[in-house]
Symmetry: C2
Subunit: 210 residues, 2 copies
């Protein structure tokens, strides 16, 4: 069976509980690792280079882009954020299933460079639930709510580009399903061509030897 | 989430334990149904029409072929065997995940007619284990063993055409993995386009209403 790790891209509506879900997966199961992003923003108190982020200067980051060292990158509020390919590939080669929480633009960039990555879009059980989460407890301004709902419309555009959707309803069940979806991909025949060929060759040798 | 059942094709080397695996799946989990084949062979003692097989005359069977009523069919030792489309589709529409144990020629015919079917090839942990199962306890003639090994070589030809491989080592673990592979496919975004579109429409309506 496939021993190389699988890169899993997690996207989903804001407020749908992606972070909690990924945290649950990491706590409950072995064999997973979180991707660590590179960024040009300044470290906040307590943030450690190589743990929370790889902190880089703008020049360093642009060199990484130029050298194709990033699986994806984007700029927000004058800072770069990106996913270092070497870090992810190192983890995958160690057999870790790497989890990467990211938005659709990044997901598209990664699928282009690593089509074997598995992508999962986290969904609310229904739109009403999502609305409640976005509208909150009525303490937000109309402007904030409006912005969130507009963002949700944008986020909903490319859902079918993802390999899977996962409804986040009961957390413990969702964590287990997320785990099962990722693990099932280890059984994908495309990920096991070496093993398949080995068995085929061995069977041929036996057959000729008898 | 997708409520329509999934048709799962199970193939694998003779002697690898496909039958036991499928039986374990049926015993341990709800929501599965076995496909029932049509055949022109005579019923054996205790076999019930519509349970073990749909027993048909040669004329009836050939009419089913002509009318496109079979997902696949083949002839062995002067008898036809085939998979009735209506029976399978009825089960799928009832939300049952239908299991069909079949050889590669049949698997190919089905994938052509129902590309959304999931196909799984059951593998031994290694070729040595397979060899032991095929060679048996030394009570078989060399001719029988030779025939089995040649068949195994043939069976090994098209493994990578299957969506998944599953190593049948520890039975209880294999049954659980089989279940997880099939269930993960319910999260396939292609199987949930209706749900995706519904959420997208609802979110749009909220956004415009605020």
């Amino acid at each position: 069976m496939s021993r190389k790790g699988i890169l899993t891209i997690i996207s989903g509506f804001s407020g749908v509980g992606k972070g909690t879900l990924v945290q649950g997966l990491m706590n409950q199961y072995d064999g997973y690792a979180l991707s660590v992003s590179a960024t040009t923003r300044n470290p906040r108190d307590g943030e450690v280079d190589g743990v929370n982020y790889f902190f880089r200067t703008r020049e360093e980051f642009e060199a990484m882009i130029g050298n194709g060292e990033l699986l994806e990158h984007a700029e927000y509020v004058n800072n770069y954020y990106g996913t270092p390919r070497a870090y992810v590939e190192g983890m995958l080669n160690d057999g870790k299933d790497v989890i990467l929480e990211i938005e659709i633009q990044g997901a598209r960039q990664i699928k282009e460079k690593m089509p074997e990555a598995v992508s999962i879009f986290i969904m609310p059980p229904d739109a009403q639930t999502l609305r409640k989460r976005l509208v909150g407890r009525g303490t937000e301004t109309a402007e904030v709510i409006d912005k969130r709902l507009k963002r949700a419309v944008e986020e909903s555009e490319g859902i079918e580009e993802y390999d899977y959707i996962l409804v986040n309803d009961v957390l413990s069940e969702s964590v287990e399903k997320l785990h099962n979806i990722i693990q099932s991909n280890h059984n994908d025949s495309d990920r096991n061509l070496e093993f398949i060929n080995k068995i085929r060759e061995d069977v041929k040798v036996f057959s000729e030897g008898e």
